[in-house]
Symmetry: C2
Subunit: 482 residues, 2 copies
């Protein structure tokens, strides 16, 4: 690894991070909150470290794949380490690990919180906490759709250059152009949601907070009852639709803006994604209607909201779904694992991988009676290579192994299996709330420091698609440079 260039790029990232804290500082100033000095101090510290690293001498002009991975992984960690300082210094959290957990949860767009009294936060801190979702969401789009393809790293992408579908890196020929298109799309969606929420009667400040949580598929709110604090069905509906939109592969928006709308709805991942949302919403609506709510409209409204929130791994709630019937909770639990589309701001296993897995099962059944037939697996009418299939299978297997092992570790807290398992699923999948002790009206405050650190690691692993971080912490014999 070329440490010089890695540190230099990290330096420029920190300068950007320092500047991104300025709006929160301004809010703190306007409100004359206790978080003024913490923000000012953190901004100066971040900029100082950033400038120091950036000005360091370096020789090489290009970065290798491994350098790129290191920048991304360390970038997320360093941004969380520094981004947590305002929370800690303004006394929002009792100890630094809690602040770190909260901001890792922000940057990874998870939305799991250790805060027990959300509405008492200073306005600047509340804004910053939600803004990290927006930054993290943007970061993951640039990472998965622009940086990885530009670096030519095959190990992390779902599709390689020759593979089918709306391919990362094919959006625009150059890294900067791709990133630019992503910025414009992301900001357009953001502004559209803010405007629609303000029209629905939300304050501009709250509209920004909830839009950051939506488009980043994060889930932080400044209300104790999350989106449930708003009784307007219009607001529930707007947020539902924007959550779903944020769980779509952003490469598809490029096709959309170029007018290739029919192409869009031929995309198999999008169709499966919308299909799962429809079926899950209908199933939960019926279950809630018959077993719990006994009112069709509210059943449909809350089912649609919760399905959108969980499959996109946002984690907002309009009701305490931990009190819903078991069948409904089971469906939500499945959605926690499935997650959103690849190339979106959502987490989880990703729809495309589930799609390929289902096609592989279908092929194997078909092979029972055509044992000698060659049956390639196709997505969007293009054949997937054995390599890509192996990569997807290994990802899914590793995801399950990590889930299982981490559940064991968390179960050492002497809590029930559902709480332990959903705490892991909700952090690894970047969702936020789970069930039982980590349900939508609960929080992660009661966990011990080591567990909070482990869950923070899971959020990072989930966000960076597992292998990125594993590659960096793997034993020496796997560390040979590319």
């Amino acid at each position: 690894m070329n440490y010089g260039i890695v540190l230099k790029v990290l330096g420029s990232l920190l300068i950007v991070l320092g500047l991104l804290m300025v709006p929160s500082y301004i809010i703190a100033l306007v409100e004359a909150g206790p978080d003024r000095m913490p923000f000012l101090g953190t901004i100066l510290l971040t900029l100082a470290i950033g400038v120091f690293l950036f000005l360091k001498e370096r020789k090489e002009k290009s970065i290798s794949a491994k350098d790129g991975l290191a920048i991304v992984a360390f970038g997320w960690v360093v941004a969380s380490v520094l981004g947590a300082l305002p929370l800690y210094f303004s006394g929002v959290t009792e100890n630094y690990v809690d602040a770190f957990f909260e901001i890792v949860s922000g940057f990874t767009t998870t939305g799991a919180t250790i805060l027990t009294d959300i509405e008492s936060m200073p306005a600047g801190v509340a804004f910053w906490r939600s803004f990290t979702h927006w930054i993290g969401g943007m970061g993951i789009l640039v990472f998965t759709l622009a940086l990885l393809p530009a670096l030519g790293i095959g190990g992390f992408q779902i599709f390689k250059a020759e593979a089918p579908g709306p391919v990362a890196g094919k959006i625009a020929p150059r890294l900067k152009d791709t990133a630019k298109i992503l910025y414009i799309t992301y900001i357009t969606i953001t502004l559209a949601e803010v405007i629609l929420l303000v029209i629905g009667g939300m304050s501009v400040y709250d509209a920004f907070i909830h839009t950051f949580g939506t488009v980043g598929t994060g889930g932080f709110s400044n209300k104790a009852n999350s989106v449930g604090a708003y009784s307007s069905s219009y607001i529930h509906f707007v947020i539902s639709v924007f959550m779903i939109a944020s769980g779509v592969n952003f490469a598809l928006y490029y096709s959309f803006f170029r007018g290739k709308i029919t192409d869009l709805f031929k995309d198999e991942e999008l169709r499966l994604y919308l299909g799962i949302i429809t079926i899950a919403t209908l199933a939960i609506t019926i279950d809630l209607w018959l077993v719990s709510y006994h009112n069709l409209f509210y059943s449909l409204r809350d089912a649609f909201f919760q399905v959108s929130s969980i499959i996109t791994t946002t984690g907002y709630g309009t009701a305490d779904f931990n009190q819903w019937p078991t069948f409904t909770k089971g469906i939500l639990l499945i959605l926690m694992f499935i997650g959103a589309s690849a190339g979106s701001t959502g987490g989880g296993m990703k729809i495309i991988r589930i799609l390929v897995m289902l096609k592989l099962i279908k092929r194997e059944v078909g092979k029972l009676y055509h044992p000698r037939a060659v049956m390639p697996v196709k997505v969007n009418n293009k054949v997937m290579s054995n390599e890509t299939i192996a990569r997807i299978n290994s990802f899914l297997a590793l995801y399950m192994v990590l889930f299982i092992m981490s559940t064991l570790i968390v179960s050492l807290e002497q809590i029930d299996l559902i709480s332990a398992g959903t705490a892991v699923a909700a952090t690894l999948g970047n969702i936020g709330p789970g069930l039982e002790l980590v349900g939508p009206i609960e929080n992660y405050a009661f966990f011990s420091i080591p567990t909070k650190l482990w869950l923070s690691l899971l959020m990072l692993l989930g966000r960076l698609e597992l292998f990125t971080i594993i590659a960096l912490i793997a034993p020496k014999n796997w560390r040979i440079d590319v």
Copy 2:
């Protein structure tokens, strides 16, 4: 499909089944129990149907792969349909579905029971119920190690003819010889355990009951407290060891009897199997010792017994492990999925598939830094084909999909997720007891009739390695003959 030959072979199976009920009938006669007439009637009915089918005219002399699968699948179902009659007619179960569930549980070597008062059963019925474990265990060995390879069916085997390891069908060149070796091994192990249990003070009758449950990795007992009814640590230990022995690939015993003992312990599946047992036993011992029992000997004894019982999918208990700490329950839950070795009487996903999955993950991590390297996956120093790997991946994925969907279905009973999930895991994995409402001191009596039928199907699917039954019930376009 050639229905003529399928029915003829089923006829011969039914004749054997009728004869296999005779010992139970004799016990019923000796004890002058209420189950005398039910057995006599069932035996005569079974033999009559068997002879009728067997004497039917047929043309072809050889059977196709599809015929073979149909015989096995229908054989298991028909044997359960008729084998359930003595339970129903002697009044042991209230309705026929309960009797069917119980005997499916027997033949599939699951051990899940709907009986609420086990010790009040007539002696003949109790013997028959446990004897179905022994028959089912023998049946699955002949199916997986002799019949499938003889039919040349690639879709179901883990290894194909050219694949590595202790290969099914390589034990002996011809079907009958292979089956003979299996019979001898199986009967030898059975008699050895009976003798050791009688030496430990068990009655001959109880020794047979518990040996059938052990070597078939079934788990039916004639005691309400299962093996916990015996306080002797010697008996716990003997049963533990024989459960482990029954979870070993029986093809390895052939190597063993031929004196190739060093070869045996080079087998990667066996090593991983014994490794998991060791680690799980130690982890649970420490957890029980520190959190629950505060006694090292009893912690080790009960941990070893329960780990052996669950990983081999037997399901015997010496303690109510539902009351054990969450960490321990988590480990046991993982073992429920892992299961025993391929080619054993145990169920679950099978160790060999877990082994391959772990190797695939390791390869993918390795590929991050050797993106162009060709890294074949080897088991026992032989390369696995892409086809075999795809088959294993699809099996694991299908197992999880079935588990998840079935948990949703069972959750409609309005029970908690752990009860629903472990009821499915314990039937699909042919284990028996799960956690909470289906824990070791509970039973499956409270489920509705449709759920009992669904769980019965899961037991059959698990026992016949999923694809066998799916192939038979799959849509027409998958049904083209080989």
